[in-house]
């Protein structure tokens, strides 16, 4: 579904991604760890097509098609979606209004407002004055309306209280059409995701297929997410660097 080959990206004159390789198959969920400032958001923004991220080298393919030079909205219409780490307020545009535009002909269910505890936010301007957790939930709501095939979640659980993390996990499963309790063959899933996380809390709720660590502009490891998390917890990201050499 998504294939990134030797991707080099600079932002504001600084080279942040130095040869990223990543393949995400249909139905797979990947998690991405990495220290602050390592370029995780940059990678997601490059995939989405942010004008700030300048591709120096390499290719991003979606369903086999190189999308390096595709306008942002065309990528979105191909089925790429993103939950922003820090979404901006959109002045003058109500959340409900935006959801209606995005969900045209999508079979969006009104029940999602209450599911995401956003009933009272529907008639407010998008993200304006929303708390940290409310913004994260509003991102999920918009993704339901948009219904992409491949979703990038940039720290969907950061700033979210422990109780609500379960809700975020549920929402991600619903977005990816993976019932959290229903056991299905992984093959039957068609939606994919790349989740950026520092905590790994979501691993309790969302079944993740592969994990990566972004260090020095490169992805190291594609081990089992729990093993990576344990390494990071016990030895810090240094542990990953050592591991990089050995693996």
């Amino acid at each position: 579904m998504l294939e990134i080959v030797d991707l080099w990206v600079e932002i504001g004159g600084k080279t942040l991604l130095k040869g990223v390789n990543l393949t995400i198959q249909e139905g797979e969920v990947h998690i991405l760890f990495g220290p602050n400032g390592s370029g995780k958001t940059t990678l997601l923004m490059t995939i989405m097509g942010s004008p700030h991220c300048r591709i120096l080298k390499g290719e991003i393919k979606f369903y086999g098609k190189v999308i390096n030079n595709l306008p942002i909205w065309e990528r979105a219409r191909l089925g790429i979606g993103i939950a922003f780490q820090s979404p901006p307020a959109v002045k003058g545009v109500k959340l409900r209004e935006l959801v209606e535009i995005l969900s045209k002909g999508n079979g969006f269910s009104e029940e999602l407002y209450s599911f995401l505890k956003l009933e009272e936010h529907a008639n407010r301007e998008v993200n304006r004055g929303f708390s940290g957790g409310e913004r994260k939930r509003a991102e999920l709501l918009q993704l339901f309306a948009q219904d992409p095939k491949f979703i990038m979640f940039d720290e969907p659980e950061s700033g979210v209280d422990l109780e609500s993390i379960a809700l975020v996990g549920d929402a991600i499963n619903r977005l990816l059409e993976r019932g959290s309790c229903v056991r299905r063959q992984p093959k039957s899933y068609t939606k994919s995701a790349l989740i950026v996380s520092h905590t790994g809390y979501l691993l309790d709720y969302v079944k993740v297929d592969k994990a990566h660590v972004l260090i020095d502009g490169k992805l190291v490891c594609d081990k089992n997410p729990w093993d990576i998390l344990t390494t990071i917890r016990e030895q810090g990201y240094k542990g990953c660097e050592i591991c990089k050499e050995t693996c």
């Binding site: 942002i72 002045k91 003058g92 545009v93």
Partner: protein, 365 residues
Amino acid sequence: MQRDLLADEKIRSFGFDPEAKDKAGSFALTDDQVLLSMVRETGLEAMPIAEALERFPEVREKYFWKLVSPDEDEVTKKVNSAPLRGLFARAKKGSKVFLPLQACYILRSEAFSQIVHNVIVAEEGSEVHLVTGCLTSSHVSSGNHYAVTEIFVERGAFLSYSMFHSWAPQVEVYPKSAILVEEEGTYISNYVTLREVKHVKAYPRMIVRRNGVARSYSVIYAPPGSLVDIGSKLILEGENSRGEAISRAVSTGGRVISRANLEGKGAECKGHVECHGVLLEDGGFISAIPELTAFRDDVELSHEAAVGRLSEEEIFYLEARGLSEDEARSLIVRGFMKLEIPGLPVELKKEMDRLIDLTLGGGKL
């Protein structure tokens, strides 16, 4: 012929409803002819100003040339020396008129100078909503409109005054308005200009007495060739008076000067100015000129101004959801222009939004 004129597509599209189904009354002036003057609601009067002066002695005693002086400037001198035309409207004491009273000023002959003097009175405890459309009929491209408007919001009254303008490229408009908001009164001004116009210069003066409120909203869309210079001066004279001047300007090449001048004179009065402008294209300018003057230590006046381009971050955000750049810009601009105006009747708000959609829908956006 009169029917033909009212059926003129431009006039209809501008929201003037000749049948006046959902209106409390109608008044229309074409060039210097009163075309229509009627009221439906009791407790409301609307008639040509000349008739009011003849019928009611208090109009001259209390209202006529009382807020504006005839020799104040070129506009007032012109109005004072011209034959008397214009609207007198009055909501009687305590009457609440929820349907809007519509007034329409039409320039019908090429290069005509329309000169009017309006007096609007909301008597004690009354409520009235006035909506005026100022426009040229389809074939007219030049002319002038000079107006003196004196507005009295008496004790505890509520008056909203919405002005929807649709002039033509060579039209010049010089309204001179003054408003007195007496104790506990509320005045809302809602000024919307969306089409090309050679020059509009409006700077209403509002005097607000104790516990009174004056709120002035302007929505300006300036295509190339337009020079829109509007703003308001709010004199917060009374104790605990409130004032607000909010403007949203969009330039696609036109020139906009958005002024707001607040004077805090009364004890614990409060005022706020908000001037926001976006330039969608080069060729013009938007100049925000807020002025605040406090005369006491317990006065609170503030302002917020921002002019420039649309936020790239917001556009990117919407594009990432699948909106094209044009769709994203259009959505943001619409939202920007569709001000929330507390106290304005829903149908007027709808009408305003419809006109904004019409404006934005027709152009590049």
